[in-house]
Amino acid sequence: MRGPVLAVRGLRTHFMMPERTVKAVDGITYELYPGKTLAVVGESGSGKSVHALSILKLLPMPPAEIVSGQVLFRGEDLLTMPAERLRQVRGDRIAMIFQEPMTSLNPVLTIGEQIAETVVLHQKKSKANAWEKAVGLLAKVGIPHPEERARDYPHQFSGGMRQRAMIAIALSCEPDVLIADEPTTALDVTIQAQILELMKELQREYRMAIVLITHNIGVVAEMADDVVVMYAGRAVEQAPVDALFKDPKHPYTKGLLESVPSIYKRKERLEAIKGQPPDLTGGFAGCPFAPRCAVALERCAGDDPPQFHLEGGRMSNCWREER
């Protein structure tokens, strides 16, 4: 199949609170192809996790409401598909891993049992076969002595090993799409490097497509083919990774790239973005970034910019691209 394995179209997810509406995700569109990695990057509260949870309808509704949009998995809309069918796709064709693996692992089951359980559930294997497969998966994700370690409980694993176990569970059904929400944020850099390397290796092997959610610009540079930059619930810029770093279009992306110190280049000063992150409750008259933008035009404060589609499959949500 040549088409995208996952296509998100105009996704908007709002939280309907008693006195206010939080527009957590307010317009995300992208396509993800087999074997590719799409990074979703943005600062805390920009809507990265809510976007991921919306894809699999894992949010509490209410208060969450998917106000509009489609999430097409191989052409089928996950948002409107019957619950039974969605359950099949979830965990079978699309798997998800989270930042803190401890909260998503069951503390009273051994690691091996948890992996075997998903194997039985999705691949209809016998218990003995499933256990064998679980041990094999632990070996695959680089756990030493997998036969013994499969009998361990989650608290006996280190943070890096737990994340490996989560990946083993996610891989147990050889998914087409892996959604990884900050999979390495809680880990030390040496362990992060191991996990990212593992994800790349497994991606090559299974031609898995990955949605990688992160706030770490370095991780984006290392892993991504394409990037969606989020700010205040919106995609403010989208581009292939090289183009984005070489020639960022949106002033927020520029600011973000200039803000990060690098171990290779010592800058005298960092070009910090001024001001504070936005409050999502009020809604915005114009561009949500306008109050912090160093190059804002007169219209930016009151006029909501559309998405401008540019050469090279790029998009920038900024009035400066109007021609």
């Binding site: 992060q192 290392e222 803000s259 110190p261 171990i263």
Partner: protein
């Protein structure tokens, strides 16, 4: 040679915690800090970097006299802190201040911003004259980028970055000469982190501060600090000027640690080879024999299992505790792309 003594010097400092949670019933000892020597000159910024659990925070607490060392000494301005009178320690508390990682939990939620910042003056009986006090406060707010209109607010009404500014203002209220900063920007978003890093840099210049800067983030360290100490399992394995360390790391652990840091540039990421360390950081309850890094080291020789290496000088001011240092030229596959 300048004759000024280091503002801070620690000698063979150790902190061992006994924990009763050993699997075998007996007492186990965590050697959180296990023989650290380090000095900070006036106006110098020295970083302590290392992975989680290597003992950075414990070292910071020992320096601040918030923990009592099991062994070793801390000298402030050339004086051994252990032998100081209560009065001298109180005076020292004004010279040495701390900034914590978590601006959320380190500020009292019931106090206004003004109360938080000026409390140290009350404790130490300083700036009692209202005019002086107002002038000092205005300068502090201005330096730290806090709006005067925010003085009556409480810390929880602020974002993380604003709270960290308040934490910094409080630390600087007493005009310290040394600031111990434990992961001061780790909890902040990148755009806010950049603001705070710039602020810390400016303040250092303007107020002639020395920093002991504790961090796990090499990029941040490179930006802010002049000298670096790399910690592994309670020990310092390498110290050097920032440039020397980043351009030519000597210890295999530093080399691997640096190569693990993702570079925010896809063209570099595609070209470079990286060193993957196998395994996790060993438990500090049972540190490996010999060189503590040997189970994860790709240059390991038999002797590394037994011999605990002492720091040797690779070039002036650049020390590493690795006996295979002289063989460094022979390490074939340079892991970092030269830029």
């Amino acid at each position: 040679m300048s004759a000024s003594p280091p503002i801070l010097e620690v000698r063979n400092l150790k902190k061992h915690f006994s924990s009763r949670k050993s699997m075998f019933g007996g007492e186990a000892t965590v050697k959180a800090v296990d023989g650290v020597s380090l000095s900070v000159m006036p106006r110098e910024s020295v970083a302590v970097v290392g992975e989680s659990g290597c003992g950075k925070t414990t070292l910071g607490k020992l320096v601040l006299a918030l923990e009592k060392p099991t062994e070793g000494q801390v000298f402030f301005d050339g004086r051994d802190m252990a032998g100081m009178t209560a009065g001298a320690v109180r005076k020292l508390r004004t010279d040495m201040q701390v900034i914590f990682q978590d601006p959320y939990s380190s500020l009292d939620p019931r106090m206004s911003v003004e109360a938080v910042i000026t409390e140290p003056w009350i404790i130490h009986g300083m700036h009692k004259d209202p005019a002086t006090r107002a002038r000092k406060l205005a300068k502090l707010l201005d330096d730290c980028g806090i709006a005067k209109t925010h003085l009556a607010r409480r810390p929880h009404e602020f974002s993380g970055g604003q709270r960290q500014r308040v934490g910094i203002a409080r630390a600087l209220a007493l005009d310290p000469r040394l600031v111990v900063a434990d992961e001061p920007v780790s909890a902040l978003d990148v755009s806010i982190q950049a603001q705070i890093l710039n602020l810390l840099k400016d303040l250092q210049k303007e107020r002639a501060l020395a920093y002991l800067f504790i961090s796990h983030d090499f990029s941040v360290v490179r930006h802010l600090c002049a000298r670096v100490a790399v910690m592994y399992l309670g020990r310092i394995v390498e110290t050097a000027d920032c440039e020397s360390l980043f351009n030519d790391p000597q210890h295999p652990y530093t080399e691997a640690l640096l190569s693990a840091v993702p570079v925010p540039d896809p063209s570099v990421e595609k070209r470079r080879k990286r060193i993957l360390l196998c395994g996790d950081v060993p438990s500090p309850l049972k540190p490996p024999s010999g060189c503590r890094f040997h189970p994860r080291c790709r240059y390991m020789k038999e002797s590394c299992r037994l011999d605990d290496p002492a720091p040797t000088q690779a070039r002036p001011g650049h020390f590493a505790a690795c006996p295979i240092l002289p063989f460094k030229e022979k390490r074939s596959d340079a892991a970092l792309v030269a830029l």
